[in-house]
């Protein structure tokens, strides 16, 4: 997913779930900020780099893909963009190494989504925004894993688009970094094939290009891990479910509903706007920001400002932990810590060690000490 959904559509979902314009705006900003909070950005504002929620291409190229580097990459991508669906999933005739990677495959309605939303309960808007980003990405990025792996993330080259009339059209890929996708000629950018299992080129949905990020597209492809089974990705339907699930999750965060259950969607909330939302989701375009922005304006009657990564930088420089970015950092550390711990306790070392503070005391990266103090403070 990209800015159109993480910012504008999240604003719409937040507003429909009952948040005020200002709250919805901050929540949407936080959701989109997950895609911008890189180590480079954090260094530029003198904040802890351990709160990074994403990595730029340059940062990834600079990463070493040794054990420590891979664990760092996995912590970031599995926690915020490719939340694992089932950390105890079984696959027949597989080695432990393969199984560990297989278990990191992202998908919606897993127990970790519930954990993510519940973790954000009672916390600030910033934490809710992060949870909404993670939740939405479980729909868009499903069937790919947030760890570099050729055997999991590679795909067959024969992608086929299913057009609205039911006919099919082959999708072609090019490898031209920076170039935009050509919808008319079905020519999309994707990462170049690399035979190295742990190459960063094999991270996430790179081999499928930006197809998972476009709401309008329906396509068929064969993921490397699915034993030659062809999978069908219906983005308009998935994005709609993501939207309805976000509304439900935010109602839970606001205390309007008692519990957040997976595989449940607040369809009623969008009943009045059904056609409008379907129209936006199915419109053949690379960026739906303008349409979502217009819809957001219709909903709240307010003007939605353009997203600006640096909007809260000055505030952070003076107020640190009491600023928007300060609270976002703490929320990001919390989410990363929770997912890493869940992966570690499933006896999977791909995201590294996780030490339980309550039984072992504090150890490890000191930036997390603030998070521990915060949690202890809350529990007391």
């Amino acid at each position: 997913m990209q800015l159109d959904f993480h910012y504008y559509a999240t604003y719409c979902a937040a507003y429909l779930s009952g948040y005020s314009h200002r709250e919805a705006l901050d929540l949407a900003y936080s959701a989109q900020f997950v895609d911008c909070c890189t180590k480079t950005f954090l260094r530029s504002v003198d904040a802890t780099i351990h709160a990074a929620t994403t990595q730029t291409q340059a940062e990834l190229l600079d990463m070493r893909t040794d054990l420590i580097g891979l664990q760092d990459i996995t912590r970031i991508w599995a926690s915020f963009h490719f939340l694992p669906r089932d950390l105890y999933a079984e696959t027949p005739r597989a080695t432990k190494t393969y199984k560990n990677k297989y278990r990191l495959i992202c998908g919606p309605n897993g127990t970790l989504v519930k954990d993510t939303v519940e973790l954000a309960k009672g916390k600030g808007i910033e934490h809710a925004g992060i949870a909404m980003h993670v939740l939405a990405d479980t729909w868009a990025h499903q069937r790919f894993a947030g760890t570099p792996s050729l055997v999991i993330n590679n795909t067959d080259k024969d992608f086929v688009e299913i057009l609205p009339d039911g006919s099919t059209r082959p999708i072609r890929f090019k490898h031209a970094p920076g170039a935009s996708d050509d919808l008319e000629n079905e020519l999309f950018n994707s990462t170049v094939f690399n035979t190295s299992e742990a190459s960063i080129l094999n991270l996430g949905h790179g081999h499928a290009g930006h197809l998972p990020d476009y709401s309008f597209i329906r396509y068929k492809f064969i993921p490397a891990w699915d034993n030659y089974r062809e999978c069908l990705k219906d983005n308009p339907s998935d994005y709609r479910k993501a939207f309805c699930q976000m509304i439900l999750a935010m109602k839970y965060l606001r205390g309007e509903v008692d519990s957040f259950e997976t595989d449940t969607y607040d369809e009623d909330a969008i009943k009045l706007y059904e056609e409008r939302i379907t129209e936006i989701l199915t419109k053949r375009q690379l960026d739906a920001s303008e349409d979502w922005k217009a819809f957001a304006g219709e909903l709240s009657g307010e003007d939605i400002p353009e997203y600006d990564t640096n909007a809260y930088v000055e505030e952070y420089k003076t107020q640190k932990d009491n600023s928007f970015i300060g609270r976002f950092i703490l929320a990001a550390l919390s989410q990363k810590s929770m997912v890493t711990n869940k992966i570690y306790t499933s006896k999977n070392m791909l995201a590294g060690f996780s030490i339980d503070y309550r039984s072992k005391g504090f150890a490890g990266i000191k930036d997390y000490l603030r998070l521990v103090s915060e949690s202890v403070g809350l529990s007391e």
Partner: protein, 187 residues
Amino acid sequence: MLFVKAETDSIIQDNAIEMNSPEAINFRRNSSTLSILGIGVIIFGFWSVIKIVTYVMLGIPIYNDADIAGVDGMTIELLMTVLYCMLAGDVIVRLIAGLCARAEGKNHNKRQKGFYLGFIVWEILFQIYSVYTVIMQFLSIKDDTYVETYVSLFMELSSMLILIEVYIAALSVRKYKKRMALQLTGK
């Protein structure tokens, strides 16, 4: 009111029909086998060449001196020429068979040549004979050529198994395509 929505779009449902039937999955697996092992067939074609070149370069005799006692130099040269021609022919046949198998696996209709299965059968027979001679050689080892014969046996067996697998995969792929064509024409 909150409720679970599980139904899928009708377009998607239509496209999902038969998409992952066991036959379709098997077809994809066999197509992939063809396209990967097609390269294997070509690579193993160079094995004999590499073996002969290594023999010549290291000065290892290709034939037993006792076997050719009494044969004149001209005849030996002629026999060697025939051997080199056969090797070149073998490489060409494997190259054609490998490329055709790959094209069939990737479904490149224009480049598909049905006759390559004949080449594959020929190569399998040739390979069975090779394995047989290596096994005979293996059983009659008297000196320190044990490792060399063992490697030869491993290579010849691998080559034979690849050819057999290509043959089986090609038959399976064709059977599926034929069935699909019949279904489409309604016969």
